[in-house]
Assembly symmetry: C2
Homo-oligomer: 308 residues x 2
């Protein structure tokens, strides 16, 4: 029977001013998944390598996402899923989204592309809900579409593909600490000053314009979050020092990736990105906290078919 | 001595989701101004026709804006200003901004273009402050730049020129009522729910993307204001009925122009705009409130030199 192997990339959500709406796709880190047609109906996760995750379909994000797809398409066959996870769950770079988005894109390829990207996003969101208790597309959209995405709305799913300047590189630092989802939610304000909201939406509008016009200077001026960062950054040790060092080293902007603990920067050119990575590492080296960093161009295409 | 005659257009600020940041420029309604070099130093408003406005320099928006320009440039001559106002003060379509922006653009042309548009915006904002007690660029920016503008920040002045699809037409209805500035400010909330803010900035980002891509369907989906409209629309009689009729007649969106009482719609094509105007008029005809309406393409160039 047919099988497909795909690369499901890590992603950055909550891009500075774009809390809950803006994300982008990474290229150099991600999971691999194999999805295989089998004669016997049903979904089985036959392998889950890398991190200790539940393999019962209803408790696994890929399982639930695949089930949503299969329930709708109802093919006369079954599937087996192998998951090779590299993205650590809870690191803030879309680990669960990679699994959820990866499996539905793989299934779609395998079954002759019956669905469009918005439909695939909706299936994957069902899987994402297993991990985060709510259906959101912040990480799923960039994984499926590639580049920068704006989640215009979740119900109905409406994703906008924002042009991505070719010379943008992300640097991620991932402190090996755990932030409980409940904590990262609890620190969010229920209400915010209107003046802050206005500043934030000016920056969102400005960032979208800057991406359309490849205006790196304006990207830098727009990558500010005046609403969320001040609350969530308290949960990430040495956040301010890392940010300060990154900006000093030439980063266009620095903010929390997803709900953390990873911190991302965006940078013009690989040389600057390397310089910024070095500066960020230097801050964390002194802290005694384990961490890893990586550099990635923006992945313009999202999930990649490795072979079929 | 040299003189210049210019057309200073009306403008729409607070474009739906873009409260305080997004505006656009009209073409079919505006003031005219004549600015003349004279030997004797100083600024004199020699004529102010159309509406009863103060002509002392320090109490007139054009006077204060001109003074800001002159203080900086310090030419060895004086100027006379004639103002022919067509835009009714307090109507919500940038009457004071037209005067403030008009005079500084005229001066700049007359004196060999010593300043760029951002500098001119800053001068004009000093004039705007006379009328509104604060320096803002919501109406000044579209008057000076034309098209759609995003005020990224006021201090320092940073204006973004957003591409404007060629087939967009505005319809304005201006109920002849007065809304006191104090009232339109008093109804604004100091704080707003984070969820509303997120919806609003998703729409701002989406609208900027839609303008860049001339996606009229997405313009329609993005022209929503979930933050301000519900409060300020109460000050405008029959607002909901006008909006409902306009949308039913095919308008892409309908919202409050500036702080009202004017209501604007954006429409694809002139035929639809005429249809929408008719529908809006029909609502107001039954109310006994005097009103006027007008249709305008988006003015892509802003203030126009008529002769010099």
């Amino acid at each position: 029977m047919k099988e497909i192997r795909i690369f499901a990339p890590a992603t950055v959500a909550n891009v500075a001013c774009g809390f809950d709406v803006l994300g982008f796709c990474l290229d150099s880190v991600g999971d691999e998944m194999v999805v295989r047609q089998v004669a016997k109906k049903g979904i089985v996760i036959t392998k889950s390598i890398g991190y200790d995750l539940p393999t019962e379909i209803e408790n696994n994000v890929a399982g639930v996402a695949a089930q949503a797809f299969i329930n709708d398409f109802d093919p006369d066959l079954g599937i087996e899923i192998e998951i090779y996870k590299n993205i650590k769950p809870g690191s803030g770079v879309g680990s669960s989204a990679a699994s959820a988005a990866g499996v539905v894109v793989a299934l779609n390829e395998l079954l002759g592309k019956p669905y469009n990207k918005e439909q695939l996003t909706a299936f994957a969101m069902k899987g994402e809900a297993v991990a985060s208790n709510c259906e959101h597309a912040d990480n799923i959209a960039p994984a499926i579409y590639g580049g920068f995405t704006l989640v215009k709305s979740c119900k109905p799913v409406k994703i906008l593909e924002i042009p991505t300047p070719s010379n943008l590189f992300a640097v991620i630092i991932h402190p090996q600490i755990e932030i409980k989802t409940a904590d990262s939610r609890a620190v969010l304000p229920q209400e915010i000053p209107l003046s802050q909201a206005i500043e934030q939406w000016a920056n969102v509008g400005s960032l979208i314009h800057a991406l359309h016009t490849s205006d790196y200077g304006l990207i830098k001026e727009s990558l500010h979050d005046v609403v969320i960062e001040t609350h969530r950054s308290k949960l990430i040790p040495h956040y301010d020092a890392v940010k300060k060092a990154a900006l000093k080293a030439g980063a266009l902007g620095c903010s929390i990736s997803g709900s953390g603990p990873s911190i991302f920067t965006l940078n013009k050119g690989k040389a600057t990105a390397l310089h910024v990575e070095h500066a960020m590492r230097n801050v964390y080296k002194k802290t005694g906290i384990e961490f890893e960093t990586y550099i990635s161009p923006i992945n313009q295409n999202g999930i990649k078919v490795l072979n079929m």
